[in-house]
Amino acid sequence: MRASSRWLLVTVVLAALLQGCASSHGVALAADPRDPWEGMNRKVFAFNEKLDEAVMRPVAQAYVDVLPSFVRTGVHNFMGNLGDVWTTVNAALQLKGKAAGESLLRVAINSTLGLYGVLDIATEAGIDKHKEDLGQTLGHWGVKPGPFVMLPVLGPSSLRDTAALPIDWQASPSQYFQDAGTRTGVTVLNATETRAGLLKATDALKQASLDPYSFVRDGWLQKRENDVYDGNPPADFDYNDPDVFEQP
């Protein structure tokens, strides 16, 4: 069986098994219909937090402390350029001509004039940056996100985006390299660079929330819908809820 089909099978079996978990975790959680596997997800979240405190955060902080800003910007741009390649493909799959065209142009300019993507000439030239992946493509064509999934190490996801993961992974920066050692190195560098970019945000997160797990989950779910709809998701929050306001 091909790796991605094997993965899909694993995801589906896991889904079937986990159906039982939400109900067996007797605690009366204010059940969110988008998160039927909340019990399991909270455990994974707790694990991820410990791993983050122990490993990822210190490494990301060291990355920021040791490397000068222009080096970190170069790394960010390099990863972003490879990301633009996959964005081009997915924008095209979603029939978003402008986004696909702009992303392709970005790749062309940055890979050549930008020295393999290290310099982001395209942004300075005013070409918008888009971000599309297979999960968003599936969402665009009507595939609902499905239950919320907190993945070990990788963090928040949904059933749809997890199923798309193997293919999205194939397009990640590390896979552009042949040698296994280089691949690992690039994976670690990409993860560190991403984590470093989120250091201040995650600190703010701990201060802003009363329950970090649901804050992260709800924020991620909103952001994902926002991305699928490119900044204009259908609103489903009732701002005129008569239950909230005093009757005039």
Binding site: D32, H76, K200, G219, Q222, K223, G231
Partner: protein
């Protein structure tokens, strides 16, 4: 003779004043800003203030609170924000509880987002063209904060308040694709379910106290 001259000039003065008042009135109404113009003005003014004052960027809590109270709160319907974040339990709360809730929520938000001020350097606000067909009670203005690094999506939800202040009030904020009220509704509902409105107020107060001491320690180190 002098008396009648006096009377004449006073009448003309009175007439002149009335005419000018009548002429000025439509002008005053025309000065009502469009929503995107309003947001551009307020966000640019605030950004400029932060750029000019180092103590705001360094996290001086009192100064930041003062700036928020003077510059931002007049443009925000914070009561509505807090009510929507709380949900149906808001209606059952007493006026004192509602006031306390607003105070603690405001402190939480200001303390949390004031950290972002330290990263202000050369950013500028780019206001996107207004989407067509929006209703005056729920109008979204989309902006982007552009500077070094990736642009940050920052959207505002406004209600029209004709005749009051600048004519618009903000009642929800979206940073990077996440609307504040929707995100806090879950947070607040959990606390209300566990301990009622007082439980929520206490949790917020505790969080604020913990944040204040964490920030004080961080600044000392």
């Amino acid at each position: 003779m002098l008396n009648s001259l006096n009377l004449l000039s006073r009448r003309s003065l009175w007439l002149a004043l009335t005419l000018s008042a009548l002429l000025a009135a439509p002008l005053a109404r025309a000065q009502e800003e469009a929503a995107d113009v309003f947001i551009k003005r307020v966000s640019t003014e605030t950004l400029d203030l932060v750029k000019a004052d180092k103590s705001l960027r360094n996290g001086d809590t009192n100064k930041i609170m003062a700036m928020v109270d003077n510059k931002l709160m007049p443009h925000v319907n914070f009561r509505r924000m807090t009510a929507l974040a709380t949900g149906p339990a808001w209606r059952k709360a007493t006026p004192e509880q509602q006031k306390r809730l607003q105070d603690e929520f405001k402190t939480l938000l200001v303390r949390t987002y004031s950290g972002a001020l330290s990263q202000v350097s050369d950013q500028a606000v780019f206001v996107k063209p207004l989407r067509a067909g929006q209703d005056d009670k729920n109008l979204v203005v989309n902006t982007e904060v552009r500077g070094k690094g990736d642009p940050i999506q920052l959207d505002y939800r406004l209600e029209k308040t004709p005749g009051e202040g600048a004519g618009w009030l903000i009642y929800d904020l979206n940073v990077l694709g996440v609307w504040l009220i929707e995100n806090y509704r879950t947070q607040f509902t959990k606390e209300v379910n566990a301990g009622g409105i007082d439980g929520l107020i206490n949790s917020l107060a505790e969080r604020n106290k913990a944040n204040a001491s964490a920030n004080a320690t961080a600044r000392k180190s």
